[in-house]
């Protein structure tokens, strides 16, 4: 323990800010944080959803029956926000079909299924041990081609985050890992500190940041020691030990903690000169640049009392969760919950056939005793416990009333969209109201309404444009008919006037008679034409009436 204290004294000197609220749920990082990361035997199949993160899916480059090498590219990155996918090990493409994926809904998505051949045969690797001579744009390409996504949170493509052209003051490396149970980053820092720092330096080189702030929560003394040793006397990387409190690892909260500044609502950290990357991402970047290895695996914490062997494993992307559970002595109880992620923000899986994806940091199989399922929801008593713990200083109780009343305008006025869904409010709610659940639903509703509104607006514009066009066409048609009628009238008149000219030549009487007849015929014809034109117009307008 004295070690922890010294480490804290050495590094915990200048935490600038603090964030409001937060909770202290039981950490339960043991035994995962003190056991070395294991390697599991290869699973029978790997399931790689083509679309692994936000953004459109890429084009599939392989066909069923193809032999693929480890690291071989399987998909072409789509346009924006896409990332290529690689074969995590060598094997045969067994299928390209819809499979349930790691999403709360469990809806099936297109996936490439690989049967590993067990040879672990690497394809070509383009190692780049010294990146300092290389153009930054080339490094960004390499990061992109390696398929690296942010391994800490939402899985945003890393190269795109790095490529934003804004002057940055600090690069923040997030090793906070504030969710209870999860120890994947902790173990990675303990065992691969040098690689992480090397990756950090690459990230700093790419982003041209003045300095790096490396943040770790003070409940990870071993990781702090390892990272401190790896940083050694590099003055550009500053280790910041932050006090243990959930959710201090949230991007916005950590920024407030380290810099004392808040990210303005609706803006990104880079707008205030900051960029944050997770330690796992820094490690993946190092593997990609220095060793030429794309992102094929990640550390996953397997924990919860329903598992006999708790700890961390290197899981190939695409590994079915069932395989991880089988390798950990899984004793399911009645109504077992399998949570992907931590207890605060993770989601329950409907099936264990879903695969590990880039953002899977933990599989938690708790017993009901250790994480009791919530009791029945009682009425809100406005006790305000939720407001006290909200790190975004929202008024969760107010949002809850408004969400239940479906008052979406007021919800937006109460800044619903500044909620980071950390779950602190629901964690402390004495009436056990699933608050975050209500907010998610309300957010989806608000988005839906906005979409519907945009659609309706578009439809309205389209309708108006059509009305205008029809009206224009009608006017044009009427004009045409009018002109035609006039034309005919004129012609008739001309015809009628021709015999008149004959009269000039002499023969008056018969000419006068025939002229009168011709004039009568012309009058009748003109009348008919006018009638026809009118009928036509009527028909047109009635036809239009039907159309519109």
């Amino acid at each position: 323990m004295s070690d922890v204290k010294t480490v804290n004294r050495d590094f915990n000197t200048d935490i600038i800010g603090q964030f409001p609220g937060g909770v202290h749920p039981p950490e339960r990082k043991q035994p995962a944080s003190s056991r070395p990361i294991r390697r599991l035997p290869l699973p029978a199949e790997l399931i790689l959803p083509v679309r692994q993160h936000i953004g459109p899916s890429g084009k599939v480059l392989v066909e069923v029956g193809d032999r693929v090498d480890k690291g071989q590219r399987l998909t072409e990155a789509g346009l924006s926000q896409g990332l290529p996918l690689h074969a995590p090990t060598s094997g045969i493409i067994a299928a390209i079909e819809e499979r349930p994926t790691a999403h709360a809904s469990g809806l099936p998505e297109q996936a490439i299924v690989i049967h590993p051949d067990g040879e672990e045969r690497w394809g070509n690797k383009h190692a780049l041990p010294d990146y300092h001579d290389v153009e930054i744009s080339r490094l960004l390409e390499l990061v992109q081609e390696a398929g690296i996504a942010g391994l800490g949170g939402a899985g945003f493509p890393t190269a795109q985050k790095l490529a934003q052209q804004k002057p940055l003051k600090h690069l923040i490396i997030n090793g906070v890992e504030c969710e209870p149970y999860i120890a994947a980053d902790d173990r990675l820092m303990q065992e691969y500190a040098d690689d992480i720092i090397a990756g950090t330096r690459i990230l700093q080189y790419i982003t041209r940041c003045d300095s790096v702030l490396f943040a770790i929560e003070d409940n990870k003394p071993e990781a702090i020691k390892a990272i401190a040793a790896a940083i050694d006397d590099d003055t550009q990387i500053k280790l910041k030990v932050v006090p243990t409190k959930y959710p201090s690892g949230g991007e916005k909260q950590l920024i407030e903690l380290l810099t004392g500044h808040q990210v303005p609502s609706g803006k990104l950290p880079m707008d205030i000169g900051l960029l944050m990357q997770n330690v796992g991402t820094a490690y993946a970047v190092k593997r990609a640049i220095i060793h030429g290895e794309p992102l094929l695996e990640r550390v996953v914490t397997l924990t919860g009392e329903a598992l006999e062997q708790r700890g961390n494993v290197w899981a190939l992307l695409g590994t079915p969760i069932q395989h991880l559970l089988d390798e950990s002595g899984f004793n399911p109880e009645k109504k077992q919950r399998i949570i992907m992620g931590g207890p605060m923000m993770g989601f329950t899986l409907p099936s264990t056939e879903v695969p590990v994806i880039k953002t899977t940091n933990c599989i938690l199989a708790p017993t009901d005793h250790e994480l009791p399922a919530p009791g029945p929801e009682l009425a809100c008593i406005r006790c305000g416990a939720c407001s006290d713990v909200c790190p975004a200083t929202l008024q969760p109780q107010q949002l809850q009333w408004l969400a239940k009343a479906k008052d979406y305008d007021e919800l937006e006025k109460h800044h619903l969209f500044d909620c980071i869904e950390c779950g602190a409010c629901a964690y402390v709610c004495p009436s056990e109201i699933p608050l975050v659940h209500y907010y998610r639903k309300a957010k989806a509703e608000v988005r839906n309404i906005a979409r519907e509104k945009a659609k309706a607006e578009q439809a309205r514009k389209r309708f108006e444009a059509r009305q205008e066009r029809l009206e224009r066409e009608k006017q044009e048609r009427l004009e045409r008919h009018r002109k035609a009628a006039e034309e005919r009238k004129k012609m008739q008149q001309e015809k009628a006037s021709r015999p008149d000219s004959k009269t000039d030549s002499g023969d008056e009487k018969p000419a006068g008679k025939s002229a009168a007849v011709a004039a009568a015929i012309a009058r009748a014809k003109a009348k008919k034409a006018a009638q026809a034109a009118k009928d036509n117009a009527d028909e047109d307008s009635s036809a239009k009436g039907n159309e519109s």
């Binding site: 409907p350 008593i381 975004a392």
Partner: protein
């Protein structure tokens, strides 16, 4: 196999509402014990009657609102309301007084407004005010504390008085209130109010049998009992310090200033703090979260307001005590307070 689906977060470590309400009941014990010591066992009958009425009324309301009969009882809030009302009224008040008050609190103040969490007013205090205005005689028939009283009633005599308004021997509550000299004794706050109007100074008034040590005989100890219970609630994090401290500050600071300027006309802060329903109000009544302001800043303002109104009514108003009125008046201000104390959301500063 199929797995259970549940929304995050998956853990929950806070006391539930039902448990919190149970703790409020436990914390009332020291004060109620002292109250039953000084004013006889009547308070226990009142509590029993009130709780029974509240439970039945709550069940009837939930059934009428087409919800399972026991669903609303689970949170224990009706019981807390009933107990708070029962200990606020004179222990020998006739049985129908507490029944009417509790029915009004549960049915009208709580369920008509939409039930738990929806009521604008503190149900116990709204019930109390209804009773005080409708039955002023029964509601002000406080016995003198047992230490200075001529009479002490047995359990049976107490029950008989509550049920039939006379002791088995035929004494009315009015007669029981008489002191040694045959003069009816009032509560300390009442005594201060009436004697001041008769031209006595506080120094003289404090000589009366109704006063001892810090404040009113009996009442001061009951207040201290509720103070102890209230501190337990703060220590257990059932309530935060904002409302009790705000209440006491709002009451005692003006009292202190007034006392300095007119020591013989304005009772000092200690008398105020240990008289009437001060401690019960500060720790148990104003802290009702449903009808209080929601933010901590708002709660301090809310509580200061209550304390100050209590001071004003006690000093210049028509009633000797004023916690119930003050709480209801502050309840009305809550939407306004909440509106102006809304915290700045992350990223919306400057």
């Amino acid at each position: 196999m199929s797995f259970k689906i549940a929304p995050s977060p998956h853990g929950h470590n806070q006391r539930t509402t039902s448990e919190m309400m149970r703790w409020v009941c436990y914390a009332l014990v020291p004060g109620v014990l002292l109250q039953s010591y000084f004013f006889g066992p009547g308070v226990w009958f009142q509590i029993t009657l009130a709780v029974a009425t509240a439970v039945l009324a709550e069940m009837a309301c939930t059934v009428a609102r087409e919800r399972p009969a026991f669903s609303a009882l689970r949170d224990n809030t009706a019981i807390v309301t009933a107990i708070l009302l029962a200990i606020s009224i004179p222990s020998l008040a006739p049985w129908w007084v507490i029944v009417i008050g509790t029915l009004f609190a549960i049915v009208v103040v709580k369920h008509v407004y939409g039930g738990m969490g929806q009521n604008l007013f503190n149900p116990a205090m709204a019930g109390y005010v209804l009773l005080l205005i409708s039955f002023p005689v029964q509601m002000t028939n406080w016995l003198p504390a047992s230490t200075i009283s001529e009479h002490s009633l047995t359990l049976w005599q107490t029950l008989h008085t509550i049920l039939f308004e006379y002791t088995p021997a035929g004494y009315s509550v009015e007669q029981l209130r008489a002191g040694i000299d045959g003069v009816t004794m009032a509560t300390p706050l009442d005594t201060i109010k009436t004697e001041l109007t008769r031209g006595y100074t506080l120094t003289e008034i404090y000589q009366g049998p109704e006063f001892s040590y810090f404040a009113g005989a009996g009442w001061q100890w009951i207040n201290l009992g509720f103070l102890v219970g209230g501190l337990l609630l703060i220590q257990q994090r059932i309530i935060s310090w904002h409302i009790p401290l705000g209440f006491l500050a709002g009451l005692c600071l003006p009292a202190f200033i007034a006392h300095i300027f007119a020591p013989d006309l304005m009772p000092g802060p200690i008398v105020h703090a240990l008289s009437g329903a001060t401690m019960l109000g500060a720790f148990f009544i104003a802290t009702d979260p449903v009808s209080a302001a929601t933010s901590n800043r708002g709660r301090v303002i809310f509580a200061l307001l209550i304390g100050f109104i209590v001071f004003v009514i006690r000093s210049w108003g028509g009633y000797p005590d004023a916690v119930a009125f003050a709480v209801l008046l502050a309840n009305m201000c809550v939407p306004l307070i909440d509106r102006y104390t809304r915290p700045v959301v992350y990223g919306h500063g400057d």
